[in-house]
Symmetry: D2
Subunit: 347 residues, 4 copies
């Protein structure tokens, strides 16, 4: 029997959209029909250079795109006629407006963490709730920080039982591509509300997760760093905590003692390993920094969440879950990880 | 009866030393005998411009200083013969080597947070343990971060009883004057050991304080920001938490809702208020960000610690305590605060 | 005969407006009638704290301001009825819209460098063209960078005759107070047009100045740095170049050999000197870096322009020129400089 | 006849060394014998992961390396016995000390720009003086900034005749991998000597190049930006200037009008193109910013020099020149460019 191929379109070719496009191109059970956007600059020209068919998300932008030398093959609606699944990677809030259009075309839709949980009623992290997504029409891949929390804190909770996780998130202020326009200089800028949205957001994926988050952002653009005080329901030991993380997917360990001391160190390794865009899809946990209190009731963790890359494998798995291409979560995760080069050991 | 005047010398005219010199000059019960250093650059020339007598800490540096146009009035030992108290503001670790010399001259000595607790056996924060220092020969004013913790978390512990304080410290990477040489760029850099030293260090001041700290530093130079998850022994309410902080010395409130949103906002106010060097001697706590959990057993706080300035009033109080110029802690604190312009309400 | 007092109002209480308010308050021949703005946050509350009467620039904002606890004494038009001169410090482009209102009230008006030369037909730098402004109704104080160029390159041109000045401007990306929202991270961002506007803008003050400028901005907020390749019409010598700058107002020398090595070093000195807001009203030229080519036909200069502060004395002089309070440029400059603490030698 | 294979070793596996190792591995006329270093951290472990034989540069470091799990196959001297050419990528100044050892083993040696011209007497940029290097024993590949100048300003000089090039270099403060330890924060830091060393250094490659450079560094780590005021001996036109650069090797054009506005934009494209480590081997010249004065005697250029990558192709060509693997400069350049993926048009 011929292997089924799911046809996928991407609306919004930005930080997440372009990575999803490349990732889909690496899957043997998916086909990228095209990408849709409204920009006319180098970003879309790069999509063209890669050979991705380009659609126009707003009719009024089509002429501008053509004038810039972009070969527009159709409108977003044209693309929707050709796809089984659409990944919406438009800026925060735009996705919500697009959903009716996707529904009208009977296309399954995947949204990103900028949209609300309520939009689809299903917030997704592959290793947490893949099965809930099987056959659904729509879901939301949660944001980078929430994904990181679900992977790390969620794994510990599932296996060891958390009484309360208190997590401080030191966020990057903007992404590299936009850093000449959207940054922060020489200050640290807290979110003015506690809990910050990431804690409650993680509970849309793992409802019984006891967590409180505080967030702030600083003048850097290369990824986030989380500082977690994890209080367990019962005594644990360091080896167990480590083995739980070691067995969970998409989490790797790094050691400060190996000279891997800060956010930039891990990304330098991703560069050295010739990873595409120097991306870190995994959460990197500092193993030799991980410590417990004397009573062995709390663990303290520092980990890195690469906001540009971490949700890419989740989007791929989400396609498989919605379309039931694969019903076994771990089989999908393994297939995605193999195709992208996601590992359990960086070096 | 004539008011006694304590004669003070300062060894090390850097970030802390120069501020201590100015602060002592504002006291009516102290006299600055001079400052001692080994540098020959603009820093010492500014001391000369202010009229501070300049001594040389190392004989072999004297000629270099003179050649640079600095009028050296004597050696460090000459200065020690003239003073009752020496404030050691030399770089970390040098103070420990200097103590024997101070002792030899029978001079009371104050060290900074870079030195170990063991050097003097007494780690000092005025509002916590002033009375312990009365008549002692020597003490250590704890570091900026530890001072901030003792003021804020210490006050809450004393009045409300803390079960466990979990604090993440987002540190500035270096001071403004040295920022062309000593910085960090586009990354976040955790301390590789948990607990970071500030938690145990706070316990040298408040032995029964239950606290765990995690620290990291970022690419900014204007002050530190702490993120505290404070778990109380019993239920509390928001008003009580606020009133405890409001009644404690050297803590002020700011509100994000007033546009005071980040580290730079508070320091812009210090500039606007024409404070010397735009210094913030107080800990600034964000009042409208302060929140409690539903059970009212935990409070979450964000506060700013201005590393350049926060320990200055502590050094002044330390002089009064060691020399018994004043035996009532609050009288010394009030006198110091009035002289420097320390307030309970910034605007 | 009683000394005349000029009544001045300020519209726009931002980076420039607040400094102008403080500077006017220091003059014995001027009176600050009030400041007008539309904001309700800490910035305006600080104006209130300083005792400045507060007017509201837009009627629809008055209620919001009152609700925030600001005592609004009237509208902008009310203030205009009371003043002889208005300094418009509103954001770029707003000033142009305000001019008709000022004219209607018969109030002389001073605009900032964000407005176009054409708005008033007179672009002003005190030491260059004070006399042109005598008795005029309106003028524009040019921007920080243009003021810096006019002082330094203008002085050299006037005394020595420049064949061509080629200047690269490394600009700060935003001001400290707004640095949590408006910055640049880890990149250098050139202006996409050569010449950048500052060269032609300097020619609105000094029409025969041969100059070309290229500009870019970087991830810092503390001031601008200019790099000038100045080609003279005839041979010069280093001493002459230095003496020309030494004799010009509002230019000071600093030396890298004194440890004054970068933008932050100079501002640290301003902090140490207890200057208000650590402001540097003067242009700081690195004397020991200043060099000539072998033929002695070109000089190479590096200087610092403190964008927040440099135009403040110009605004004060502009008031005197427009109102003919003082007809002698140097007398006004000296009076302003004495009142603010502007020097010819920093240390 | 069998194609000759040159055996190459690399001493110093840092920013340049690791890129040279990868680049050599891509050549069909070279073989990487191994790399030599003294470090024991993740950097060397990555070399091991790539399968590069690892030698130890200092005998006293060998045990430490072995303990860290690095399989050391021999000493630096062992490696020198096996190679025809050594590329010295050790830190500035160490190379000079190593030369006698290389000479003793009769190995041809290539040094980097941190070493002085005098060390080898031959400073090399492939497109400028390849033929001078044919058959020599040793040469120095000049630094990143000097290489950028030689490519861009050198090409213009060769074809159009420069009267004087005045270039301001805005340098990155440190490299990404070391940015948690070696940076600059919130300031701009000029080199205290004019001319900065890059101008004279370019003259070691192109002796008759009339050039003056001024340098400063800022708080970013992703590459350098040059601002060039190029005065020609005779009138030129914009099309000619552009075509000269278009015809020169290893220079590409970018346009701000395409959204490629700053250093980060170009490197984002390198990431999107899946270039190894997001490297930019070419100099990127902003085509739509490039302007001429009215007289058409001067051109103004802004270009980007990626310090981590720009000298890598030069090192490969240097191997071919020293060993006479290829005597035609353009044939070597084309071969190198093809192997690395160096282009004349980025998108």
């Amino acid at each position: 029997m011929a292997k089924p191929i799911v046809k996928v379109g991407i609306n919004g070719y930005g930080v997440i959209g372009k990575r999803c496009a490349d990732a889909i191109s690496l899957q043997d059970d998916m086909k990228l029909v095209g990408i849709s956007d409204i920009a006319s600059d180098y970003r879309i020209k790069l999509a063209q250079l890669k050979g991705y068919p380009i659609y126009c998300s707003l009719p009024e932008k089509e002429e501008e795109m053509r004038k810039a030398g972009i070969e527009v093959v159709g409108t977003l609606e044209d693309m929707l006629k050709e796809v089984d699944v659409i990944i919406d990677c438009t800026p925060k809030g735009i996705g919500a407006k697009n959903k009716a259009l996707y529904d009208k075309h009977g296309v399954k839709s995947i949204f990103q963490g900028g949209e609300s949980h309520e939009l689809t009623g299903l917030s997704f992290v592959a290793q947490c709730n893949y099965k809930e997504a099987l056959g659904k029409d729509s879901l939301r891949v949660v944001s980078c920080n929430t994904t990181g929390i679900c992977r790390v804190i969620g794994s510990l909770h599932k296996k060891l039982g958390i009484k309360m996780a208190r997590v401080m998130l030191a966020r990057r202020a903007c992404d590299p591509w936009e850093s000449h326009k959207g940054g922060v200089i020489n200050t640290f800028y807290p979110e003015a509300h506690i809990p910050s949205h990431q804690g409650p957001d993680a509970q849309t994926v793992i409802p019984d997760l006891p967590i409180i988050t505080i967030a702030a952002k600083g003048p850097y653009n290369i990824s986030h760093m989380h500082f977690a005080f994890v209080e367990f329901r019962e005594k644990v030991d360091r080896e167990t905590v480590i083995s739980v993380l070691d067995e969970a997917p998409r989490i790797i360990f790094v050691n400060a003692g190996d000279g891997i001391e800060a956010l930039n160190s891990v990304l330098e390794i991703c560069r050295d390993l010739q990873r595409p865009r120097a991306d870190l899809w995994e959460v990197a946990v500092w193993k030799d920094i991980l410590a417990l209190n004397e009573d062995c009731t709390e663990a303290y963790l520092i980990y890195q969440v690469h906001n540009e890359a971490i949700v890419i494998p989740e989007n791929i798995d989400a396609i498989r879950a919605l379309t039931e291409l694969e019903t076994d979560p771990m089989k999908s995760i393994e297939k995605t990880d193999k195709s992208l080069g996601i590992v359990k050991k960086l070096l």
